[in-house]
């Protein structure tokens, strides 16, 4: 046995020798009991983690998984989902091959003729290079969805747009900067919310509603019981299945396949803007880190300090990037200019930014009106164009899970923040 903090090795005995694979189950069990008796809670946790994650079939592993998830047998045997998934060598080889194929498709399209890859006025060679760079970036981020869109996109001659009526100009680089600024703000707020959540989890902030008002607006924290998606996703797959029910939804692909002639009746189209950001623009991200060193001796004090941090962060970001209302207006105006410029172009469009591997992808999203479809189709036809997904079912979960696990997933005290700027 050992003391905590130096890494628990389940095979290593106290005398420095190592036990065999067959003996390790019993050894973990006895190490766990020893750790409990010594009162070393860190070591207890280390042994428990090893038992559940590496030896779920051992007696201790089974027992701990049962206690944690309230289930027995095969469900408990499933290893916990890995948070940081990394592809295996074989998967990586397939991904590399896929990238190579997509790059070949782009090169082939360029060879077939300029209009297959470049839109009017664009240089074919440059279009191919910009598209290849963006695809490589999307692939490096494991964003297959974006790779797919880029592989069929055609490239605009530039990333600058002008509104013919008002003369207002916008370019992709500035749109990307706005997007990065928005993400910087959201990320800072998420960190504050995360810190508040840790205070709730530690019992420092109790359920309730807390408000902070100052000259910039009203900041509200609500702590109430709710569904914890992260905790649900951490359950073994078979457990998730056991506490879920089928949920039907209309599939636009199935509708297009089975009833192509009726698509116009139920389907509307909207243009979606997405980004490829290989070179992160500098919007001063490093200066917009929120203060997370807050706590309090009472719920009210801790909540007030958290909300003050949110207020301070919001004040600084608003000064730099504009208020939420101003940012939304700017986003809407720019989107309108870009979308009207490509309104008559079919298929996916890539507008290159000046910076390497950066660009904007415009694609068409098809939206099915469920109400119209259900009114016009028979139940059998609806079924034909529906897909079944699984959704968490509270009643099933109540029956299957232990009360503690149920509460941890479906009744977890959670933080919700709301900012109401001063009018």
């Amino acid at each position: 046995m050992k003391t905590s903090g130096t890494g628990y090795n389940p095979f290593r005995r106290a005398d420095g020798t190592f036990c065999s694979k067959d003996e390790v189950g019993d050894k973990i069990d006895s190490d766990y009991n020893e750790a409990l008796a010594s009162g070393d809670t860190t070591l207890v946790k280390e042994v428990a983690e090893v038992a559940m994650n590496r030896f779920p079939d051992s007696a201790l592993g089974k027992r701990l998984l049962d206690e944690k998830f309230g289930l027995t047998g095969t469900i408990a045997k499933n290893p916990l989902p890995q948070k940081d998934w990394k592809p295996s060598a074989r998967e990586q080889a397939i991904k590399d091959r896929n990238l190579e194929l997509v790059q070949q498709i782009i090169a082939m399209r360029a060879e077939m003729g300029g209009d297959k890859i470049a839109l009017e006025g664009a240089n074919v060679e440059r279009a191919q290079r910009r598209l290849s760079e963006a695809v490589a970036f999307a692939e490096s981020r494991d964003n297959d969805y974006l790779v797919d869109k880029l592989s069929t996109a055609r490239v605009l001659p530039s990333g600058s747009f002008v509104n013919k009526e008002t003369g207002k100009r916008v370019n992709v680089d500035s749109i990307i900067k706005d997007y990065v600024a928005e993400k910087t703000i959201e990320s800072g707020r998420e960190k504050i919310q995360g810190r508040i959540q840790s205070l709730i989890d530690a019992g420092v902030i109790a359920e309730g509603k807390y408000t902070h008002r100052d000259d910039t607006g009203t900041y509200t924290l609500s702590v109430s019981k709710g569904f914890d998606e992260d905790a649900f996703n951490k359950l073994p797959e078979s457990t998730r299945k056991a506490i879920s029910s089928p949920k039907e939804s209309i599939s636009v692909d199935l509708l297009a396949e089975k009833y192509p002639e009726r698509m116009d009746e139920f389907v509307s189209r909207s243009q979606v803007m997405e980004f490829s950001i290989g070179k992160m623009p500098d919007v001063g991200q490093q200066y917009f880190q929120p203060n997370l060193a807050f706590t309090g001796t009472t719920s009210e004090e801790a909540a007030e300090n958290g909300l003050k941090s949110l207020s301070d962060f919001t004040k600084r970001t608003n000064e730099q990037f504009g208020s939420k209302k101003e940012r939304t207006e700017r986003k809407a105006e720019n989107a309108e200019i870009v979308k009207s410029a490509v309104a008559n172009i079919d298929g996916n469009v890539f507008a290159p930014a000046r910076a390497y591997a950066n660009g904007l992808i415009l694609s068409t999203r098809r939206n099915v009106s469920r109400t119209k479809l259900i009114a016009a189709f028979t139940p059998e036809q609806v079924k034909e164009v529906s897909v079944i997904n699984e959704a968490p079912d509270v009643e099933k979960a109540r029956k299957v899970l232990s009360p503690e696990v149920f509460a941890a997933i479906f009744e977890k005290p959670k933080a919700a923040l709301r900012i109401t700027p001063k009018r």
Partner: protein
């Protein structure tokens, strides 16, 4: 259909397949990046008259409060919603 206007407006968006309904009055964009909540409130004006308003909240921050009697209500509402939901 719900009798609450805010929830009904949100339901329309979800029914049209434009976004995913999270809970009454709350939508999530299909990319999962944006959550938009629509609330209804009644405020009492200076003359004691009551004004019905729709509040649009994007990712936890109030973006706009619209008066439902306003002629531009529909245009403004759909413009903000589409922008926030990346449509």
């Amino acid at each position: 259909m719900t009798s609450n206007l805010a929830e009904a407006l949100v339901e329309d968006f979800a029914e049209a397949g434009l976004a995913e309904l999270v809970s009454p009055g709350k939508l999530k964009s299909y990319s999962g990046e944006n959550v938009v909540e629509v609330l209804q409130e009644v405020v009492t004006g200076a003359n004691g008259n009551e004004i019905e308003q729709i509040v649009i909240v994007g990712n936890g921050e109030v973006i706009e409060t619209l008066n439902i009697e306003d002629e531009k209500f529909n245009d403004d509402f759909f413009r903000i919603m589409r922008t926030e939901l990346n449509l």
